[in-house]
Protein backbone atom coordinates (compact mmCIF):
# COMPACT_ATOMS: atom_id res chain seq x y z
CA UNK A 1 0.00 0.00 0.00
CA UNK A 2 1.66 3.18 -1.13
CA UNK A 3 0.48 6.63 -0.14
CA UNK A 4 0.50 9.34 -2.78
CA UNK A 5 0.25 13.09 -2.31
CA UNK A 6 -3.51 13.22 -2.64
CA UNK A 7 -3.94 10.57 0.08
CA UNK A 8 -1.53 12.52 2.29
CA UNK A 9 -3.62 15.64 1.70
CA UNK A 10 -6.78 13.74 2.59
CA UNK A 11 -5.27 12.43 5.83
CA UNK A 12 -4.07 15.90 6.79
CA UNK A 13 -7.58 17.20 6.17
CA UNK A 14 -9.13 14.44 8.32
CA UNK A 15 -6.64 15.23 11.10
CA UNK A 16 -7.42 18.97 10.79
CA UNK A 17 -3.77 19.86 10.34
CA UNK A 18 -2.87 22.36 7.64
CA UNK A 19 -0.08 21.01 5.45
CA UNK A 20 1.28 23.24 2.70
CA UNK A 21 1.10 21.88 -0.83
CA UNK A 22 4.88 21.73 -1.20
CA UNK A 23 5.25 19.66 2.00
CA UNK A 24 2.89 16.88 0.89
CA UNK A 25 5.52 14.92 -1.04
CA UNK A 26 7.85 14.61 1.97
CA UNK A 27 4.91 13.75 4.21
CA UNK A 28 3.73 11.00 1.86
CA UNK A 29 7.20 9.53 1.80
CA UNK A 30 7.39 9.51 5.63
CA UNK A 31 4.02 7.79 5.78
CA UNK A 32 5.28 5.17 3.37
CA UNK A 33 8.36 4.48 5.50
CA UNK A 34 6.23 4.03 8.62
CA UNK A 35 3.52 2.00 6.89
CA UNK A 36 6.21 -0.16 5.27
CA UNK A 37 7.43 -0.96 8.78
CA UNK A 38 3.88 -1.69 9.96
CA UNK A 39 3.27 -4.04 7.00
CA UNK A 40 5.24 -6.72 8.91
CA UNK A 41 2.06 -7.34 10.89
CA UNK A 42 0.67 -9.11 7.83
CA UNK A 43 3.08 -11.99 8.51
CA UNK A 44 1.27 -12.87 11.74
CA UNK A 45 -1.49 -15.46 11.74
CA UNK A 46 -4.28 -13.72 13.66
CA UNK A 47 -7.04 -16.12 12.63
CA UNK A 48 -9.46 -16.52 15.54
CA UNK A 49 -7.57 -14.07 17.78
CA UNK A 50 -9.68 -11.43 19.51
CA UNK A 51 -8.52 -7.81 19.21
CA UNK A 52 -7.44 -6.60 22.66
CA UNK A 53 -9.83 -4.16 24.27
CA UNK A 54 -8.44 -4.09 27.80
CA UNK A 55 -4.94 -5.13 28.83
CA UNK A 56 -6.01 -6.01 32.36
CA UNK A 57 -8.99 -8.31 32.76
CA UNK A 58 -11.20 -5.93 34.70
CA UNK A 59 -14.72 -4.69 34.40
CA UNK A 60 -14.98 -0.96 34.09
CA UNK A 61 -16.40 0.50 37.27
CA UNK A 62 -19.78 2.12 37.21
CA UNK A 63 -21.00 4.99 39.29
CA UNK A 64 -24.35 6.49 40.08
CA UNK A 65 -25.64 8.68 37.27
CA UNK A 66 -25.65 11.84 39.33
CA UNK A 67 -24.05 15.26 39.12
CA UNK A 68 -20.76 15.21 41.05
CA UNK A 69 -19.20 18.48 40.01
CA UNK A 70 -19.96 21.70 38.23
CA UNK A 71 -20.99 25.29 38.73
CA UNK A 72 -17.52 26.68 38.10
CA UNK A 73 -17.69 28.42 34.72
CA UNK A 74 -14.87 30.84 35.57
CA UNK A 75 -12.45 27.95 36.12
CA UNK A 76 -13.64 26.14 33.01
CA UNK A 77 -13.05 29.25 30.90
CA UNK A 78 -9.86 30.38 32.63
CA UNK A 79 -7.53 28.96 29.97
CA UNK A 80 -9.62 29.75 26.90
CA UNK A 81 -7.91 31.75 24.13
CA UNK A 82 -11.17 33.65 23.65
CA UNK A 83 -13.98 33.58 26.23
CA UNK A 84 -16.84 36.05 26.29
CA UNK A 85 -19.86 36.39 28.54
CA UNK A 86 -19.42 32.95 30.03
CA UNK A 87 -18.91 31.17 26.71
CA UNK A 88 -16.06 29.89 24.56
CA UNK A 89 -15.91 32.15 21.50
CA UNK A 90 -15.12 30.73 18.04
CA UNK A 91 -15.31 32.03 14.46
CA UNK A 92 -18.75 32.04 12.89
CA UNK A 93 -19.89 28.43 12.33
CA UNK A 94 -23.37 28.86 10.81
CA UNK A 95 -24.19 31.39 8.13
Amino acid sequence: MSIDQSTAAKVAKLARIKVEEDALGALASEFNTILGFIEQLNEVDVEGVEPMTSVTPQRLKRREDVVTDGDQPAKVLANAPDAREGFFAVPKVVE
Binding site: A8, V46, M52, L60, N79, P81, P91
Partner: protein, 495 residues
Protein backbone atom coordinates in the same frame (compact mmCIF):
# COMPACT_ATOMS: atom_id res chain seq x y z
CA UNK B 1 28.45 14.97 54.82
CA UNK B 2 27.70 14.66 51.10
CA UNK B 3 26.04 17.63 49.49
CA UNK B 4 22.34 17.38 50.25
CA UNK B 5 21.18 17.36 46.63
CA UNK B 6 23.26 14.23 46.03
CA UNK B 7 21.24 12.22 48.52
CA UNK B 8 18.61 9.71 47.56
CA UNK B 9 15.10 9.66 48.99
CA UNK B 10 15.78 7.05 51.68
CA UNK B 11 18.95 8.72 52.97
CA UNK B 12 17.38 12.17 53.02
CA UNK B 13 14.26 10.81 54.72
CA UNK B 14 16.37 9.24 57.46
CA UNK B 15 18.39 12.45 58.02
CA UNK B 16 15.20 14.51 58.19
CA UNK B 17 13.73 12.17 60.76
CA UNK B 18 16.86 12.27 62.87
CA UNK B 19 16.70 16.06 62.74
CA UNK B 20 20.11 16.25 61.06
CA UNK B 21 18.84 18.42 58.24
CA UNK B 22 15.65 20.22 57.27
CA UNK B 23 13.48 20.15 54.21
CA UNK B 24 14.20 23.85 53.67
CA UNK B 25 17.95 23.12 53.59
CA UNK B 26 17.47 20.20 51.20
CA UNK B 27 15.16 22.24 49.00
CA UNK B 28 17.43 25.29 48.89
CA UNK B 29 20.38 23.11 47.94
CA UNK B 30 18.40 21.56 45.08
CA UNK B 31 17.13 24.98 43.92
CA UNK B 32 20.74 26.23 43.75
CA UNK B 33 21.79 23.11 41.83
CA UNK B 34 18.91 23.69 39.41
CA UNK B 35 19.86 27.32 38.84
CA UNK B 36 23.44 26.27 38.14
CA UNK B 37 22.34 23.64 35.61
CA UNK B 38 20.52 25.64 32.94
CA UNK B 39 22.91 24.07 30.40
CA UNK B 40 21.08 20.76 30.91
CA UNK B 41 17.70 22.37 30.15
CA UNK B 42 16.07 19.81 32.46
CA UNK B 43 13.83 22.08 34.57
CA UNK B 44 11.67 24.14 32.20
CA UNK B 45 9.32 25.71 34.73
CA UNK B 46 10.94 26.36 38.11
CA UNK B 47 8.68 26.73 41.13
CA UNK B 48 10.95 27.92 43.97
CA UNK B 49 8.18 29.72 45.89
CA UNK B 50 5.95 26.64 45.92
CA UNK B 51 8.94 24.49 46.85
CA UNK B 52 9.97 26.61 49.83
CA UNK B 53 6.41 26.95 51.06
CA UNK B 54 5.94 23.15 50.96
CA UNK B 55 9.36 22.60 52.51
CA UNK B 56 8.44 24.82 55.48
CA UNK B 57 5.16 22.97 55.90
CA UNK B 58 7.06 19.68 55.78
CA UNK B 59 9.51 20.83 58.43
CA UNK B 60 6.56 21.73 60.66
CA UNK B 61 5.09 18.26 60.20
CA UNK B 62 8.45 16.63 60.88
CA UNK B 63 8.83 18.67 64.05
CA UNK B 64 5.32 17.69 65.12
CA UNK B 65 6.09 14.00 64.57
CA UNK B 66 3.40 13.82 61.90
CA UNK B 67 5.53 13.11 58.83
CA UNK B 68 4.07 11.08 55.94
CA UNK B 69 6.26 8.79 53.80
CA UNK B 70 7.96 11.38 51.58
CA UNK B 71 7.75 14.33 53.93
CA UNK B 72 10.10 17.11 52.93
CA UNK B 73 11.75 15.32 49.99
CA UNK B 74 12.33 17.59 46.95
CA UNK B 75 11.40 16.09 43.59
CA UNK B 76 10.80 17.18 39.99
CA UNK B 77 7.58 16.63 38.07
CA UNK B 78 7.47 15.81 34.36
CA UNK B 79 5.69 18.51 32.35
CA UNK B 80 3.07 15.94 31.31
CA UNK B 81 1.45 16.08 34.77
CA UNK B 82 -1.13 18.78 35.31
CA UNK B 83 -0.12 20.84 38.33
CA UNK B 84 -2.56 23.38 39.67
CA UNK B 85 -1.66 26.95 38.81
CA UNK B 86 1.68 25.89 37.32
CA UNK B 87 2.39 25.70 33.58
CA UNK B 88 1.70 22.18 32.27
CA UNK B 89 2.44 22.08 28.57
CA UNK B 90 3.46 18.51 27.73
CA UNK B 91 6.42 20.31 26.10
CA UNK B 92 4.09 21.44 23.31
CA UNK B 93 3.48 24.81 21.75
CA UNK B 94 -0.21 24.01 21.56
CA UNK B 95 -0.48 24.19 25.36
CA UNK B 96 1.42 27.48 25.58
CA UNK B 97 0.23 29.38 28.62
CA UNK B 98 -1.94 26.53 29.96
CA UNK B 99 -2.17 26.58 33.75
CA UNK B 100 -4.51 23.85 34.97
CA UNK B 101 -7.17 24.57 37.55
CA UNK B 102 -6.59 21.10 38.99
CA UNK B 103 -3.82 18.76 40.10
CA UNK B 104 -3.17 15.29 38.63
CA UNK B 105 -3.95 12.43 41.02
CA UNK B 106 -0.35 11.20 41.07
CA UNK B 107 1.20 14.61 41.79
CA UNK B 108 -1.51 15.22 44.40
CA UNK B 109 -0.68 11.93 46.10
CA UNK B 110 3.01 12.85 46.12
CA UNK B 111 2.11 16.20 47.63
CA UNK B 112 -0.07 14.47 50.22
CA UNK B 113 2.88 12.20 51.02
CA UNK B 114 4.82 15.38 51.83
CA UNK B 115 7.01 15.58 48.72
CA UNK B 116 8.18 19.05 47.67
CA UNK B 117 7.79 20.02 44.00
CA UNK B 118 10.83 21.90 42.65
CA UNK B 119 9.43 22.51 39.18
CA UNK B 120 8.43 20.96 35.87
CA UNK B 121 10.75 18.82 33.77
CA UNK B 122 11.53 18.76 30.07
CA UNK B 123 10.29 15.91 27.88
CA UNK B 124 9.51 15.04 24.28
CA UNK B 125 6.40 16.82 23.02
CA UNK B 126 3.34 14.86 24.21
CA UNK B 127 5.82 12.15 25.29
CA UNK B 128 6.40 11.26 21.63
CA UNK B 129 10.09 10.64 21.22
CA UNK B 130 13.10 8.74 22.50
CA UNK B 131 15.67 11.54 22.71
CA UNK B 132 13.94 14.63 24.14
CA UNK B 133 14.57 16.36 20.80
CA UNK B 134 10.89 17.06 20.00
CA UNK B 135 10.34 19.44 22.93
CA UNK B 136 9.12 22.99 22.39
CA UNK B 137 11.57 23.98 25.13
CA UNK B 138 14.54 22.62 23.16
CA UNK B 139 16.64 19.55 23.92
CA UNK B 140 17.28 18.32 27.43
CA UNK B 141 20.98 17.46 27.68
CA UNK B 142 22.47 14.47 29.45
CA UNK B 143 24.96 15.19 32.23
CA UNK B 144 26.98 12.27 30.84
CA UNK B 145 29.65 12.66 28.17
CA UNK B 146 31.74 10.24 26.13
CA UNK B 147 35.12 10.42 27.89
CA UNK B 148 36.64 13.81 27.16
CA UNK B 149 34.48 14.44 24.10
CA UNK B 150 32.27 17.46 24.76
CA UNK B 151 29.55 16.51 22.25
CA UNK B 152 26.12 16.82 23.89
CA UNK B 153 24.33 13.52 24.40
CA UNK B 154 20.65 12.74 24.72
CA UNK B 155 19.34 11.83 28.17
CA UNK B 156 16.81 9.65 26.31
CA UNK B 157 13.11 10.24 26.06
CA UNK B 158 10.45 10.95 26.51
CA UNK B 159 11.20 11.54 30.23
CA UNK B 160 14.56 13.10 29.31
CA UNK B 161 14.38 16.08 31.66
CA UNK B 162 13.48 13.78 34.56
CA UNK B 163 16.44 11.51 33.78
CA UNK B 164 18.92 14.37 33.36
CA UNK B 165 17.73 16.06 36.57
CA UNK B 166 18.02 12.93 38.72
CA UNK B 167 21.37 11.87 37.22
CA UNK B 168 22.78 15.39 37.74
CA UNK B 169 21.49 15.56 41.34
CA UNK B 170 19.23 18.54 40.70
CA UNK B 171 16.52 16.76 42.68
CA UNK B 172 16.29 13.61 44.77
CA UNK B 173 13.89 11.88 42.36
CA UNK B 174 11.39 12.70 39.62
CA UNK B 175 8.18 11.48 38.09
CA UNK B 176 8.17 9.99 34.62
CA UNK B 177 5.62 8.43 32.33
CA UNK B 178 6.09 5.45 30.06
CA UNK B 179 4.03 4.61 26.97
CA UNK B 180 6.63 2.60 25.06
CA UNK B 181 9.74 2.90 27.21
CA UNK B 182 9.79 6.56 28.22
CA UNK B 183 10.83 5.87 31.82
CA UNK B 184 13.10 2.88 31.29
CA UNK B 185 15.10 4.04 28.25
CA UNK B 186 16.09 7.44 29.71
CA UNK B 187 16.83 5.79 33.06
CA UNK B 188 19.19 3.38 31.28
CA UNK B 189 20.84 6.20 29.31
CA UNK B 190 21.60 8.20 32.46
CA UNK B 191 22.54 5.51 35.00
CA UNK B 192 19.46 5.77 37.20
CA UNK B 193 16.57 3.48 38.15
CA UNK B 194 13.10 3.74 36.62
CA UNK B 195 10.03 1.55 36.98
CA UNK B 196 6.87 1.45 34.91
CA UNK B 197 4.25 -0.27 37.06
CA UNK B 198 1.47 -2.57 35.90
CA UNK B 199 -1.13 -0.80 33.74
CA UNK B 200 -3.75 0.47 36.19
CA UNK B 201 -1.45 0.84 39.22
CA UNK B 202 -1.12 4.61 38.91
CA UNK B 203 -4.06 6.82 38.08
CA UNK B 204 -3.81 8.52 34.70
CA UNK B 205 -6.17 11.30 35.78
CA UNK B 206 -4.65 14.71 35.13
CA UNK B 207 -1.75 13.34 33.10
CA UNK B 208 -1.88 14.68 29.54
CA UNK B 209 -2.95 11.62 27.53
CA UNK B 210 -0.83 10.18 24.71
CA UNK B 211 -2.00 6.57 24.24
CA UNK B 212 -4.45 5.77 26.99
CA UNK B 213 -4.21 1.97 26.86
CA UNK B 214 -0.41 2.13 27.25
CA UNK B 215 0.39 5.20 29.39
CA UNK B 216 1.56 4.67 32.97
CA UNK B 217 3.33 6.96 35.41
CA UNK B 218 6.26 5.81 37.51
CA UNK B 219 9.23 7.03 39.55
CA UNK B 220 12.75 7.80 38.29
CA UNK B 221 15.18 7.56 41.18
CA UNK B 222 18.80 7.14 42.24
CA UNK B 223 18.34 3.53 43.37
CA UNK B 224 15.86 0.69 43.74
CA UNK B 225 14.94 1.48 47.35
CA UNK B 226 13.98 5.01 46.34
CA UNK B 227 11.88 3.61 43.48
CA UNK B 228 10.00 1.44 45.99
CA UNK B 229 9.36 4.38 48.31
CA UNK B 230 8.16 6.72 45.58
CA UNK B 231 6.14 4.13 43.67
CA UNK B 232 4.14 3.35 46.78
CA UNK B 233 3.26 7.05 47.15
CA UNK B 234 2.21 7.28 43.48
CA UNK B 235 0.04 4.13 43.31
CA UNK B 236 -3.51 3.49 44.37
CA UNK B 237 -7.08 3.31 43.21
CA UNK B 238 -8.63 6.49 41.84
CA UNK B 239 -12.33 6.66 40.99
CA UNK B 240 -11.50 9.39 38.46
CA UNK B 241 -9.61 6.91 36.25
CA UNK B 242 -11.90 4.06 35.20
CA UNK B 243 -8.88 1.86 34.37
CA UNK B 244 -7.26 2.39 37.76
CA UNK B 245 -7.04 -0.87 39.70
CA UNK B 246 -8.93 -1.21 42.93
CA UNK B 247 -6.17 -3.16 44.66
CA UNK B 248 -4.32 -2.63 47.91
CA UNK B 249 -0.87 -1.08 47.52
CA UNK B 250 1.76 -3.13 49.35
CA UNK B 251 4.67 -1.68 51.30
CA UNK B 252 7.15 -2.10 48.47
CA UNK B 253 10.16 -1.00 50.49
CA UNK B 254 9.53 -3.70 53.10
CA UNK B 255 9.71 -6.30 50.31
CA UNK B 256 13.36 -5.45 49.52
CA UNK B 257 15.13 -8.34 51.19
CA UNK B 258 17.57 -9.06 48.37
CA UNK B 259 16.73 -12.74 48.75
CA UNK B 260 15.91 -14.18 45.33
CA UNK B 261 16.88 -17.79 46.00
CA UNK B 262 14.75 -20.17 43.99
CA UNK B 263 13.33 -17.46 41.71
CA UNK B 264 13.13 -18.43 38.07
CA UNK B 265 14.49 -15.77 35.70
CA UNK B 266 13.72 -16.09 32.00
CA UNK B 267 16.12 -15.04 29.23
CA UNK B 268 14.08 -14.51 26.04
CA UNK B 269 15.95 -15.63 22.94
CA UNK B 270 14.04 -13.20 20.69
CA UNK B 271 15.69 -10.23 22.42
CA UNK B 272 19.07 -11.27 20.99
CA UNK B 273 18.91 -8.90 18.02
CA UNK B 274 21.08 -9.01 14.92
CA UNK B 275 23.82 -6.46 15.20
CA UNK B 276 23.48 -6.11 18.96
CA UNK B 277 26.65 -4.44 20.30
CA UNK B 278 28.97 -6.92 22.05
CA UNK B 279 28.91 -4.70 25.15
CA UNK B 280 25.14 -5.05 25.49
CA UNK B 281 25.37 -8.79 24.98
CA UNK B 282 28.04 -9.04 27.68
CA UNK B 283 26.08 -6.85 30.08
CA UNK B 284 23.08 -9.10 29.64
CA UNK B 285 25.11 -12.28 30.24
CA UNK B 286 26.79 -10.69 33.28
CA UNK B 287 23.38 -9.73 34.68
CA UNK B 288 22.13 -13.29 34.30
CA UNK B 289 25.27 -14.59 36.04
CA UNK B 290 24.76 -12.15 38.93
CA UNK B 291 21.19 -13.30 39.46
CA UNK B 292 22.33 -16.91 39.29
CA UNK B 293 25.02 -16.24 41.91
CA UNK B 294 22.31 -14.75 44.10
CA UNK B 295 20.49 -18.06 43.98
CA UNK B 296 18.06 -17.60 41.10
CA UNK B 297 17.54 -20.21 38.43
CA UNK B 298 18.19 -18.94 34.89
CA UNK B 299 16.04 -20.45 32.14
CA UNK B 300 15.88 -19.85 28.40
CA UNK B 301 12.44 -18.78 27.27
CA UNK B 302 10.72 -17.80 24.05
CA UNK B 303 8.43 -14.82 23.43
CA UNK B 304 7.70 -15.60 19.79
CA UNK B 305 5.82 -12.44 18.81
CA UNK B 306 8.46 -10.00 20.07
CA UNK B 307 9.40 -8.93 16.55
CA UNK B 308 5.90 -7.62 15.95
CA UNK B 309 5.67 -5.49 19.08
CA UNK B 310 7.13 -2.30 17.58
CA UNK B 311 5.00 -2.38 14.42
CA UNK B 312 1.88 -3.09 16.53
CA UNK B 313 2.83 -0.23 18.84
CA UNK B 314 3.23 2.15 15.90
CA UNK B 315 -0.35 1.44 14.91
CA UNK B 316 -1.98 1.43 18.34
CA UNK B 317 -0.16 4.38 19.92
CA UNK B 318 -0.68 6.81 17.01
CA UNK B 319 -4.31 5.68 16.68
CA UNK B 320 -4.99 6.49 20.33
CA UNK B 321 -2.96 9.70 20.04
CA UNK B 322 -4.95 10.91 17.06
CA UNK B 323 -8.08 10.51 19.13
CA UNK B 324 -6.66 11.96 22.37
CA UNK B 325 -5.06 14.94 20.65
CA UNK B 326 -8.27 15.89 18.84
CA UNK B 327 -9.06 18.01 21.91
CA UNK B 328 -6.35 20.55 20.99
CA UNK B 329 -8.48 22.69 18.75
CA UNK B 330 -7.73 26.23 19.89
CA UNK B 331 -11.05 26.58 21.70
CA UNK B 332 -10.71 25.60 25.34
CA UNK B 333 -7.03 26.09 26.21
CA UNK B 334 -3.62 26.83 24.82
CA UNK B 335 -2.67 28.26 21.48
CA UNK B 336 -5.06 29.58 18.83
CA UNK B 337 -3.72 30.66 15.44
CA UNK B 338 -4.24 34.22 14.28
CA UNK B 339 -6.94 34.05 11.63
CA UNK B 340 -7.34 35.93 8.39
CA UNK B 341 -10.54 37.63 7.31
CA UNK B 342 -12.99 35.04 6.07
CA UNK B 343 -11.39 32.13 7.97
CA UNK B 344 -14.01 29.88 9.50
CA UNK B 345 -13.81 27.30 12.25
CA UNK B 346 -12.17 24.63 10.07
CA UNK B 347 -9.34 27.02 9.15
CA UNK B 348 -9.00 27.83 12.83
CA UNK B 349 -8.57 24.15 13.71
CA UNK B 350 -6.17 23.47 10.85
CA UNK B 351 -3.96 26.50 11.38
CA UNK B 352 -3.95 26.14 15.16
CA UNK B 353 -2.90 22.48 15.00
CA UNK B 354 -0.29 23.12 12.30
CA UNK B 355 1.28 25.91 14.37
CA UNK B 356 0.89 24.30 17.78
CA UNK B 357 2.02 20.73 17.14
CA UNK B 358 5.63 19.91 16.29
CA UNK B 359 6.62 17.75 13.36
CA UNK B 360 6.77 14.36 15.12
CA UNK B 361 3.40 14.92 16.82
CA UNK B 362 1.78 15.94 13.53
CA UNK B 363 3.21 12.85 11.87
CA UNK B 364 1.91 10.51 14.56
CA UNK B 365 -1.52 12.11 14.66
CA UNK B 366 -1.80 11.72 10.90
CA UNK B 367 -0.55 8.10 10.92
CA UNK B 368 -3.16 7.43 13.60
CA UNK B 369 -5.83 9.13 11.55
CA UNK B 370 -4.88 7.01 8.55
CA UNK B 371 -4.94 3.64 10.35
CA UNK B 372 -8.33 4.47 11.84
CA UNK B 373 -9.84 5.76 8.60
CA UNK B 374 -12.59 3.97 6.74
CA UNK B 375 -11.25 1.04 4.77
CA UNK B 376 -8.04 0.67 6.81
CA UNK B 377 -9.40 0.18 10.31
CA UNK B 378 -9.49 -3.61 10.01
CA UNK B 379 -6.28 -3.99 8.05
CA UNK B 380 -4.21 -1.90 10.45
CA UNK B 381 -5.87 -1.10 13.75
CA UNK B 382 -7.77 -4.32 14.37
CA UNK B 383 -4.86 -6.43 13.16
CA UNK B 384 -2.50 -4.60 15.53
CA UNK B 385 -4.89 -5.21 18.43
CA UNK B 386 -4.99 -8.92 17.55
CA UNK B 387 -1.19 -9.03 17.51
CA UNK B 388 -1.24 -7.27 20.88
CA UNK B 389 -3.37 -10.11 22.27
CA UNK B 390 -0.72 -12.57 21.04
CA UNK B 391 2.13 -10.56 22.57
CA UNK B 392 0.39 -10.56 25.93
CA UNK B 393 -0.21 -14.31 25.62
CA UNK B 394 3.53 -14.88 25.05
CA UNK B 395 4.15 -13.44 28.51
CA UNK B 396 1.22 -15.27 30.12
CA UNK B 397 2.60 -18.55 28.81
CA UNK B 398 6.06 -18.08 30.30
CA UNK B 399 4.68 -16.90 33.63
CA UNK B 400 2.33 -19.90 33.69
CA UNK B 401 5.40 -22.10 33.15
CA UNK B 402 6.81 -20.83 36.45
CA UNK B 403 9.00 -17.90 35.38
CA UNK B 404 9.04 -15.13 38.02
CA UNK B 405 10.77 -12.38 36.06
CA UNK B 406 12.40 -11.81 32.69
CA UNK B 407 15.84 -10.25 32.18
CA UNK B 408 16.63 -8.24 29.03
CA UNK B 409 18.80 -5.31 28.04
CA UNK B 410 16.97 -2.00 28.57
CA UNK B 411 18.14 -0.42 25.32
CA UNK B 412 19.90 -1.57 22.15
CA UNK B 413 22.78 0.89 22.70
CA UNK B 414 24.17 3.52 25.06
CA UNK B 415 23.00 7.14 24.69
CA UNK B 416 23.59 8.73 21.30
CA UNK B 417 24.51 12.32 20.52
CA UNK B 418 21.87 15.01 20.19
CA UNK B 419 21.31 15.58 16.49
CA UNK B 420 22.94 12.27 15.48
CA UNK B 421 19.62 10.75 14.49
CA UNK B 422 18.31 13.82 12.66
CA UNK B 423 18.89 12.35 9.22
CA UNK B 424 17.69 8.87 10.12
CA UNK B 425 14.19 7.87 9.09
CA UNK B 426 11.59 7.86 11.89
CA UNK B 427 11.67 4.06 12.16
CA UNK B 428 15.37 4.15 13.18
CA UNK B 429 14.45 6.31 16.17
CA UNK B 430 11.53 4.02 17.02
CA UNK B 431 13.96 1.07 17.35
CA UNK B 432 15.19 2.56 20.64
CA UNK B 433 12.11 1.10 22.28
CA UNK B 434 12.54 -2.41 20.90
CA UNK B 435 13.14 -4.00 24.35
CA UNK B 436 10.69 -1.90 26.33
CA UNK B 437 7.58 -1.60 24.17
CA UNK B 438 6.44 -5.23 24.63
CA UNK B 439 5.94 -4.50 28.32
CA UNK B 440 3.49 -1.66 27.63
CA UNK B 441 1.57 -3.73 25.11
CA UNK B 442 1.21 -6.50 27.70
CA UNK B 443 0.46 -4.07 30.56
CA UNK B 444 3.26 -5.51 32.72
CA UNK B 445 5.60 -3.88 35.23
CA UNK B 446 9.16 -3.29 34.01
CA UNK B 447 12.17 -1.78 35.76
CA UNK B 448 15.46 -0.51 34.38
CA UNK B 449 18.51 -0.87 36.63
CA UNK B 450 21.93 0.62 35.81
CA UNK B 451 24.36 -2.27 35.45
CA UNK B 452 27.56 -1.09 33.80
CA UNK B 453 29.43 1.36 31.58
CA UNK B 454 30.34 1.01 27.93
CA UNK B 455 33.85 1.55 26.56
CA UNK B 456 33.19 5.29 26.29
CA UNK B 457 32.16 5.52 29.91
CA UNK B 458 28.39 5.76 29.30
CA UNK B 459 25.85 3.94 31.46
CA UNK B 460 24.02 0.83 30.29
CA UNK B 461 20.91 -0.59 31.89
CA UNK B 462 19.25 -3.96 32.28
CA UNK B 463 15.50 -4.43 32.31
CA UNK B 464 13.55 -6.81 34.51
CA UNK B 465 9.95 -7.58 33.56
CA UNK B 466 7.55 -8.88 36.20
CA UNK B 467 4.12 -10.42 36.59
CA UNK B 468 1.07 -8.16 36.73
CA UNK B 469 0.63 -6.44 40.12
CA UNK B 470 3.85 -7.95 41.47
CA UNK B 471 5.94 -4.79 41.51
CA UNK B 472 7.13 -5.65 45.03
CA UNK B 473 8.65 -8.95 43.93
CA UNK B 474 10.04 -7.31 40.78
CA UNK B 475 11.68 -4.52 42.78
CA UNK B 476 13.21 -7.12 45.09
CA UNK B 477 14.80 -8.89 42.11
CA UNK B 478 15.97 -5.50 40.84
CA UNK B 479 17.41 -4.83 44.30
CA UNK B 480 19.40 -8.09 44.18
CA UNK B 481 20.69 -7.17 40.71
CA UNK B 482 21.60 -3.68 41.92
CA UNK B 483 23.53 -5.09 44.88
CA UNK B 484 25.45 -7.46 42.63
CA UNK B 485 26.13 -4.93 39.86
CA UNK B 486 27.36 -2.32 42.32
CA UNK B 487 26.89 0.54 39.85
CA UNK B 488 28.18 3.74 41.47
CA UNK B 489 29.43 5.82 38.52
CA UNK B 490 28.29 9.44 38.30
CA UNK B 491 28.75 11.92 35.47
CA UNK B 492 31.63 14.37 35.92
CA UNK B 493 30.28 17.89 36.44
CA UNK B 494 30.85 20.12 33.37
CA UNK B 495 27.69 22.22 33.43
Amino acid sequence: MTELNKLGLAEARDLLRKGETTSVELTETCLSAIDAADALNAFVHKTPEIALERAKAADARLAAGDAPAMCGLPIGIKDLFCTKGVASQAASGILEGFKPEYESTVSQQLQDAGAVMLGKLNMDEFAMGSSNETSVYGNAVSPWRRGNDDAELTPGGSSGGSAAAVAADLCLAATGTDTGGSIRQPAAFTGITGIKPTYGRCSRWGIVAFASSLDQAGPMTKDVRDAAIMLEAMCGHDPKDSTSADLAVPNFEAMLTGDIRGKKIGIPKEYRMDGMPAEIEKLWADGAAMLKDAGAEIVDISLPHTKYALPAYYVIAPAEASSNLARYDGVRYGHRATLEAGDGITEMYEKTRAEGFGHEVQRRVMVGTYVLSAGFYDAYYNRARRVRTLIKKDFEDVFAAGVDAILTPATPSAAFGLGEMTDADPVQMYLNDVFTVTVNLAGLPGVSVPAGLDAQGLPLGLQLIGKPWEEGDLLNTAYALEQAAGFVAKPGKWW
